[in-house]
Each structure stands twice: as structure tokens, then as C-alpha cells.
Amino acid sequence: MFAEKACSLIKELSRCEEGLPPYNIELVKEVCTEIKQLHEQNKEDGAIVANESEIAGNVNPLYPTLRIGSAAVKRNIRCLLAYHYNRLRTLRTMRWQFGSILPPDIKTNLSSDEIDWFSKYSSCLGKYMRSIGEDGLNLCLDLRPPKSLYIEVKCLIDYGKFELSDGTVLLLKKDSRHYLPRSECEELITQGVFHHIV
């Protein structure tokens, strides 16, 4: 059936709710081949229909074929774009979550175009944030309304040394608990190093 491969691309992506599945270059290429073939066929059919309708004046029997062919091309392209667009949107979310450096396990699943896009997005976002006000504003912080100045957090991994803005150095071990200024640990919470104990 037409566009079946394109559809499985989409399914593959939607099955993976968090993170990104590896970029499926094989399937993308196959979908592109199908598009190309359908497109060629449509061009031929279209030429015949255009020619013959001038002569006969009534509906050409090839007409339904042509319509289905063109709908199939459209559907294929739509799926292809949706696959790529949604991957970029996931990458976008990761930029907000992890900052400008991607975790290596995610990076291995990306196409070179995607890595390229990520660094472009990252720098254009960074440029925008630096342009706000006098000294810039990091929009990746202050994600939720502030509740209190200090919060209790639990460290989820062996992180190592962490320096506070007043110069104090903490050793963050797995399962250790800390009572810290909210502004100091927000970044580590979004990165999943800390868990905020409510």
C-alpha cells in the first residue's frame, strides 16, 4: 500500500515517548524512493490526461489513478516532514533541558543534519537570551513560580564537586540530601542531577 513505510516512520517515533530513537536513514531513503517513483508516474499520467482530454472532452479513465497518485505523494511527504519536524522539536526541548551540550547517548541517535540543526538552534537561542535587557536573561531558569528561598534536594547520581556562588564547595554523592538556595540548584534539577523533595 502507498505510504505504508512513511507511516511506520511516524509510528516508530511515537512509540518512543521519551528521548529519541536512532535516526532511521534506511527507511527515510526508501520513502524518498517511493515519492520519486510516484512523482514520475504522476507526471506521465498527467501528460496523457492533459493530451487526451483536449481531444475527447470527457473524463479520462486515468483520472482517478492520477488523483490517488498525487494524494499518495502528498501523504508521503507529510509523514516525512512530520518525522523530521517532531524530532527537531524533541531536540529543542532537550536544548532547554540540558543546555548547549547534548548527552552522548542522545547524540549517537542523531543524523548529521540534526546535530547541525541543534547547534544552530542552540546558538540562536543563546544569542536571543543574551540580548534581553542589559546583561541578558537565562530563560532556562525560573521555570516555575518561586515558593521559597531554600529547598531540600536529593542527589540522584555521584556528581562530584559543586561550587555555590558564595564559594562554598559541596561534594554531591548519590542519595545525599542538601538544603540549598533554590536559585543555585534549579539547573541541576532540570538536568536530573537533583530531585526536589517537596
Binding site: R144, P145, K147, S148
Partner: protein
């Protein structure tokens, strides 16, 4: 909207506290607060009150309406009325949650107050559910929501707006088709709903 964000807006409500310390005023960007004189009541934003209370630097005076007898009357009125009555505070839920949460020792009979506010919220929520049902059945595209508080409005979002958007989509597609096939055709309907009468 996240309930935390509704709370954020509600935290600007002014409430009365009795400080246990003396201090010159605080010059906030949002306006001056103070001066503070021990044992002399003054009005401060709720978020300031909660912070001071957590540091045990003040006593919180509950708002007038946070009184068992008044709330009992309010509950009866809400129950006997088909429409929504006007709440004594635009942020009654937020105020109740934060004040009762941090200043239980300043307020007599907190458990009973908490229960009765929860009752009022529940009565109003059930009215909300039946109003929503009516609106969707009537396919109304407009409703007055005058006496609803922000937290209540937020609780029917996104469900009600989304449902109505879908109905609108169906209706306007139907209109487009009718207009195309028969010229302009109108269907009589009453498209106005209301949450207040």
C-alpha cells in the same frame, strides 16, 4: 495554567499580620511594606506573610471571611442558590491553602474551617460540571462566568474551551458546506449560555 501559577497570582493578596519585631519599611519594587512595629498589625502581601510566618516573625490574622460562622452561611447560600454566589475573596482557595498551611496555630478550629471551605469548593465544582454539560449540549459559544474565581476557571481548562472549539469547527464546516450548496442558509439556535443565571 499550572495551579502553582494561579497561586503565584493569589499570593499578591494583602493580608493582616502582627509582627514580633521592629523594623523600618521594606521598599519593594511593587510598593513599600511596613514600617514594622512589634504587636501593631499591618497589611502585607500574602507571600511576605507566609515567609515571615515560616521564620516565626509574625502572627497571621485570618481574613474576615475565614470564620466558621460566616463560612457556614456562605455554604448554605451556595447550596440553596442555583447560580454561583460571589466569593468573599477572588483567591479564597489560595488564601485558605497558604494561611491554614503555615499558620494553623494562629487560627482556632483550622480543621473545621478547612473542611467547610472544601465543601464550598465541592458544591461549586459540581455546579460547574452541570453548567459545562449544559453549555456543550446547547453548543453555546459564549458564557458569563462572573462569580467564578481564577482557580475555578482554571479547573475547567482546557476541557471546556477545547470541547467548544471542536463544536465550533463542526458547525462552521457545516455552514460552509450549506453555503456552498444552497446559498446562504441559517439554522435557528440559541448560542448563549450562562454560568450565573
Amino acid at each position: 495554567m499550572d495551579p502553582d501559577e494561579v497561586e503565584f497570582l493569589g499570593e499578591k493578596s494583602m493580608i493582616e499580620i502582627v509582627p514580633t519585631f521592629n523594623s523600618a519599611p521594606i521598599y519593594f519594587i511593587g510598593g513599600d511594606v511596613g514600617p514594622f512595629r512589634a504587636s501593631i498589625p499591618l497589611r502585607v502581601p500574602l507571600w511576605v506573610a507566609v515567609h515571615l510566618k515560616q521564620q516565626q516573625q509574625c502572627k497571621i490574622i485570618p481574613p474576615d471571611w475565614m470564620d466558621l460562622e460566616k463560612l457556614e452561611n456562605l455554604k448554605e447560600e451556595e447550596k440553596s442558590n442555583r447560580s454561583f454566589i460571589k466569593m468573599p475573596s477572588e483567591h479564597y482557595i489560595v488564601e485558605a491553602k497558604l494561611i491554614l498551611g503555615c499558620a494553623a496555630d494562629d487560627i482556632p478550629r483550622t480543621d473545621e474551617i478547612r473542611t467547610i471551605i472544601k465543601d464550598i469548593w465541592d458544591i461549586r465544582k459540581s455546579k460547574l460540571r452541570s453548567s459545562m454539560d449544559q453549555m456543550i449540549k446547547k453548543s453555546a459559544m459564549y458564557a458569563a462566568v462572573d462569580n467564578l474565581t481564577l482557580m475555578e476557571i482554571n479547573s475547567i481548562r482546557p476541557l471546556l474551551p477545547h470541547a467548544l472549539e471542536q463544536i465550533y469547527r463542526i458547525k462552521s464546516n457545516k455552514r460552509a458546506i450549506l453555503n456552498r450548496t444552497q446559498g446562504s442558509v441559517t439554522t435557528p439556535s440559541n448560542a448563549t449560555g450562562s454560568f450565573t443565571n
